[in-house]
């Protein structure tokens, strides 16, 4: 890049991730525009505006020094845990499950923020843990407590999807932190044994039904299986090049449920076909590759784990959402980052991006320095 002709502030930005993201969000905006029947409102415009606002936020986050992150780790974790308890209590009072707190100007979903936060607090924990302790129970027990508390609270709500997302991020951090492999292997084995038991005891009826229907969507074509079936129809009928912009009958005639949120990929694939699908996959591949690169280049143990954890959080969103819309996973309410309409998920994902940009920055500048 010819730095001489470009202002330093602009040249410093990680364009390798910002440009693909802008492309993806613009594309997402186009899909939402079509899903709204050719209108900017209520989704497309808000989607792009939110991205711009949260991109600004990410750039601000990227300037925060590493020490601040470390200092903020435990307090923010504690605060979110309190909020989760509060949500649970409010839900008990109002009857039924509640996942958000109404702050007046926005609806805050503490479980959503917990996804990056669990990564932050575990990265901090393993950075302060002496390397020699990594094979002992002192490396495991606190982490399990740190994970178990929020994950348990979220699953109580009950929100299986977010609970799994939090656990997945935490487990990957533990894995990367260097805990002995046998833990993960035997843990995997334990889950393989426990899953069927949990299926019949822990899961709620509607969750159990979703899993069953996932295994055989046609068994319930008008109930829960309807989502998966209609999503597959939308994607499959799009073919190579799609039905054309604004021509998706599945989304426009309301056959596809949640066409602008969880199933936005199906909406997109119907109109843009496999080519559009590949574009989305490639953008995510670029973003995730950049993120892992940031993690590998990161200057210290904390930033390495932090960056890798953030990549994992984004990856989990993308992976579960795409597997769900293509009929490879049961229906769980997880949106597709940067494409689905929705403020909470946009905020979480841009927080992850901002954190990655911050780590990227630390690796290029002297440690902890404020520029």
């Amino acid at each position: 890049m010819q730095r001489a002709y470009i202002p330093a502030f602009i040249a410093r930005q990680p364009w390798g991730v910002i440009l693909p993201l802008c492309a993806l969000v613009t594309f997402g905006g186009a899909v939402l525009y079509s899903a709204a029947g050719g209108h900017l409102m209520p989704w497309a415009l808000l989607h792009v505006v939110r991205f711009v606002v949260f991109l600004g936020m990410a750039m601000v986050v990227s300037r925060i020094p590493s020490a601040w992150f470390k200092n903020a780790a435990l307090p923010s974790y504690a605060l979110l845990c309190v909020l989760l308890v509060l949500v649970e209590l409010l839900g008990r009072v109002s009857g039924g499950s509640q996942r958000w707190l109404n702050l007046g100007f926005m609806q805050l979903q503490p479980s959503e923020l917990m996804k990056p936060c669990i990564v932050l607090v575990l990265a901090w924990f393993y950075s302060v843990l002496p390397p020699s302790e990594i094979r002992t129970w002192r490396a495991i027990a606190p982490a399990v407590v740190l994970l178990g508390l929020p994950a348990g609270l979220v699953m109580l709500q009950p929100d299986l999807g977010t609970g799994l997302a939090i656990s997945f991020g935490a487990v990957v951090i533990m894995f990367l932190a260097g805990l002995p492999l046998w833990l993960f292997i035997s843990g995997g084995a334990a889950i393989a044994v426990a899953a069927p038991l949990a299926f019949f005891t822990v899961l709620h009826d509607y969750q159990r039904k979703r899993v069953l229907v996932f295994l055989d969507p046609e068994s319930d074509p008008l109930g829960s299986g309807y989502h998966i079936t209609q999503s597959k129809i939308a994607i499959g009928s799009g073919g190579l090049f799609g039905k054309g912009f604004g021509q998706g009958s599945q989304s426009h005639l309301d056959y596809l449920p949640e066409a602008h949120t969880d199933f936005v990929f199906a909406t997109m694939a119907e109109e843009w076909g496999m080519i559009g699908g590949f574009f989305v996959l490639i953008v995510f591949a670029l973003v995730l590759r950049w993120g892992l690169g940031v993690a590998l280049r990161a200057p210290d143990r904390f930033s390495r784990l932090l960056a890798a954890g953030m990549v994992t959080t984004i990856f989990f969103y993308v992976c579960i959402n795409l597997m769900m819309v293509m009929g490879l996973a049961p229906v769980v309410g997880i949106p597709l980052p940067f494409v689905s309409h929705g403020g909470s998920s946009m905020m979480t994902n841009m927080l992850c991006i901002g954190t990655l940009m911050a780590v990227d920055r630390w690796s290029r500048t002297p440690r902890g320095a404020l520029r």
Partner: protein, 709 residues
């Protein structure tokens, strides 16, 4: 892996302390593994996407099209049923209607509340619809209202967004211009039942507004009448909202059926039966065409088309005149004296001299028993002609014993009694013509003298339906082997002759003419038409023994059945007619109806004048009387009437109504006393002879001692 590896259960062998550099190294390797895992998930997703979009594209494209394009069937217009002149017996009329599809209704109570307000439904109608909603399978449309005016239809149409599952439509509905008069003749239509759908698996059957033939000709000729549905292709949302029209294919109306019925005569006969429970059959003496086939009281097929309402059902179920029974084909009666011309014909065939006489003193002693004539004072010297026109029982007792039952039974069958005719109706009853072989087969008992005595006066084992009586009349009149024909066929071959000598027929005709126009039992049946003389024969059949009632008064259901068979003009027969009036108190209830129906064929104005006079006394015509009765029931029971039965139960109830009179399970052991004929003085009141009723419960009774014959 170079990492120091220890099993958790193995004894710790002094592990080296892990350093930060080692952890960094481990992080890099594990991050690589993580990256590979992510990449492979990415490849998996790409592969899955390709599979869905390319390999399974055709399948999903078809599924998407079937989602997008909604094919709405347009019920075909049903073929008309027309009479011999082309007048409609069953037609279609354009109407606005509203249906409910239970599957799509979200809140049934709220929807019904809104609909009943918009459409002005009565409480009993609302209860009927709710019953049907409960019973219907989810996909079966339930009719809410039809024949709506435009305002009500529009009021429902604009509120559709808040009424999911409600389907307003314009279409065609079945219409029977003469209502109850053709109820049993044509049948009725109704929404297809779940069983119908199971049988046919045709989506047309669950299309709102489609009706299937449920009874009579509508059911028998369903295939021919149905037609081919049209279709409207629309693009519709998942919620059913139509986005745009993609094209319409017109329906092909069903083929019409032309009957031999004369619509005017059918309606006239139905109205003329009046308050009685009975049937009228009129046949053409040249072709066998059935000109009228009426069973009254009946139901109004127009109001059956939307299902049977609770009030209507209560009304029909409580009527002792069994309006749901087609009495022409399913009613079996002892024919009484109407068999006498037939019996006389068999005597002639057997060589009996028509002038051979018997002296009737009110009874006939056979061995140590006396068989009474209906006229206990006797008819004096009686030849064949007088035997017919005075309906003298003794004449027939006497000569029947000489000629024998076999000859009489053969003639009865030749003239149509006990015969099955191919009429397009299910569950007909064909009755019995008894003879010695039959009795031996049925009861394993010898034919006895009193069996002959009973049979010759049309009682005992002998049972016929009114159609057979009409056939007998037409065959007697024409000498042709006429078969009742209901479907118009201009190329039907001429019926063959029965092979009865014309002079025999002439003799019978003359005697039957005498019944009406001479010294006979039905003098008041004379036609008020210049130059047309009607010949006929009265018949009275006892229902209960004289020990229970005299047959003329008392309980309605204890009164005698009245019969009359006739044809006109007597010298050149064109029309034959049979009238059967249940519990009419004797043939006096039957022949005035036959007279007026016959008059209608020759002079419509005169017949109508007479009818209108009667209808003033009866409280209006059939429609008006049924409406008044309905209103009385509605006012009295309203929505509290028990729910109408569903299709299956209704069918069962109708079948029960249609069960023919069972043949006596035990052999009869005595003569049935003849029922009195109306035109002469009534039977003596001091009649004390114990009598066995010719009912299934016939019991043995000792023969009365002869009062001196």
């Amino acid at each position: 892996m170079r990492q120091t590896w220890t099993w958790p259960w193995s004894k710790q062998t002094k592990p080296l302390p892990v350093t930060g550099a080692q952890l960094t190294h481990s992080f890099e390797r594990r991050t690589f593994v993580l990256g590979m895992a992510q990449a492979s998930v990415g490849l998996l997703l790409a592969g899955r996407l390709t599979w869905l979009a390319v390999a399974e594209n055709a399948k999903y494209r078809a599924a998407s099209e079937s989602n997008r394009v909604n094919l709405t069937l347009i019920p075909p217009r049903r073929g008309w049923v027309i009479d011999r002149t082309g007048a409609a017996l069953a037609a279609n009329r354009a109407d606005f209607r509203v249906d409910l599809v239970p599957d799509r209704v979200v809140d049934a109570d709220a929807t019904m509340a809104t609909l009943s307000k918009l459409l002005g439904l009565t409480a009993d109608r609302v209860s009927d619809i709710k019953d049907k909603l409960k019973k219907a399978r989810g996909f079966q449309p339930v009719e809410v209202a039809s024949n709506l005016d435009w305002d009500k239809f529009a009021a429902v149409s604009v509120r559709l967004p808040e009424l999911p599952g409600v389907i307003p439509q314009r279409g065609f509905s079945r219409y029977y211009p003469t209502g109850a008069a053709v109820g049993h003749l044509v049948g009725y239509v109704g929404p297809a039942s779940a069983e119908d759908y199971e049988k046919e698996r045709n989506p047309l059957l669950i299309t709102p507004g489609f009706k299937i033939g449920k009874d009579g000709l509508e059911k028998h000729f369903e295939e021919r009448l149905r037609g081919v549905p049209g279709a409207r292709r629309v693009e519709a949302t998942a919620g059913g909202r139509v986005v745009r029209d993609l094209g319409t294919r017109e329906d092909v109306p069903g083929k019409p059926i032309q009957l031999t019925i004369d619509a005017g005569l059918q309606d006239y006969a139905a109205r003329r039966i009046g308050l009685e429970s009975g049937s009228v059959v009129v046949m053409d003496c040249a072709s066998g065409d059935v000109l009228a086939m009426v069973s009254m009281p009946s139901f109004d097929p127009n109001s059956f088309a939307d299902g049977i309402g609770r009030i209507e059902w209560k009304m029909l179920a409580e009527d002792d005149h069994v309006p749901l029974r087609n009495k022409v084909l399913r009613g079996l009666y002892p024919p009484g004296s109407t068999v006498k011309p037939m019996v006389a014909l068999s005597f002639l065939e057997a060589g009996l001299d028509p002038e051979a006489s018997v002296g009737c003193a009110g009874g006939l002693r056979v061995g140590n028993r006396v068989f009474h004539c209906w006229n206990h004072r006797g008819h004096g010297t009686t030849n064949m002609s007088k035997g017919i026109y005075q309906s003298c029982d003794v004449y027939f007792y006497h000569f029947a014993q000489q000629i024998g039952m076999d000859k009489i039974a053969a003639m009865a069958r030749r003239l149509g009694l006990g015969q099955e005719f191919p009429m397009p109706y299910p569950g007909q009853s064909y009755g019995t013509v008894p003879d010695p072989a039959w009795k031996q087969r049925k009861y394993g008992k010898e034919w006895a003298i009193y069996d002959t005595v009973n049979a010759t006066i049309g009682q005992g084992y002998m049972l016929v339906n009114p159609l057979q009586q009409a056939v007998m009349a037409s065959r007697l009149a024409s000498g042709l082997q006429l078969t009742p024909r209901l479907l118009m066929d201009h190329h039907a071959p001429q019926a063959p002759s029965l092979g009865i000598r014309q002079d025999h027929l002439d003799l019978i005709h003359a005697a039957m003419n005498e019944v009406v126009n001479g010294r006979g039992t039905a003098g008041k049946a004379r036609l008020p038409v210049e130059g047309v003389q009607m010949a006929g024969k009265t018949g009275t059949a006892q229902v209960v023994g004289l020990n229970i009632g005299n047959g003329k008064g008392g309980l309605w259901k204890h009164r005698d059945h009245g019969h009359f068979i006739c044809f006109a003009p007597f010298d050149k027969p064109r029309y034959a007619c049979a009238v059967a009036i249940e519990h009419g108190g004797g043939s006096g209830a039957a022949y005035p109806i036959a007279r007026d129906v016959m008059t209608f064929l020759f002079d419509r104005a005169k017949a109508m004048e007479v009818l209108e006079g009667y209808e003033k006394e009866w409280g209006g015509n059939v429609q008006q009387r049924m409406a008044a009765k309905y209103n009385a029931y509605a006012a009295r029971f309203g929505a509290s009437a028990p729910a109408a039965p569903d299709e299956a139960q209704a069918a069962e109830a109708v079948a029960a109504d249609n069960t023919p009179i069972a043949e006596p399970t035990a052999a009869q052991t005595d003569a049935a006393p003849p029922a009195p004929e109306p035109e002469t003085s009534p039977a003596p009141a001091d009649l004390t002879a114990p009598a066995a009723a010719p009912t299934p419960a016939a019991t043995a009774a000792p023969a009365a001692p002869a009062p001196g014959a």
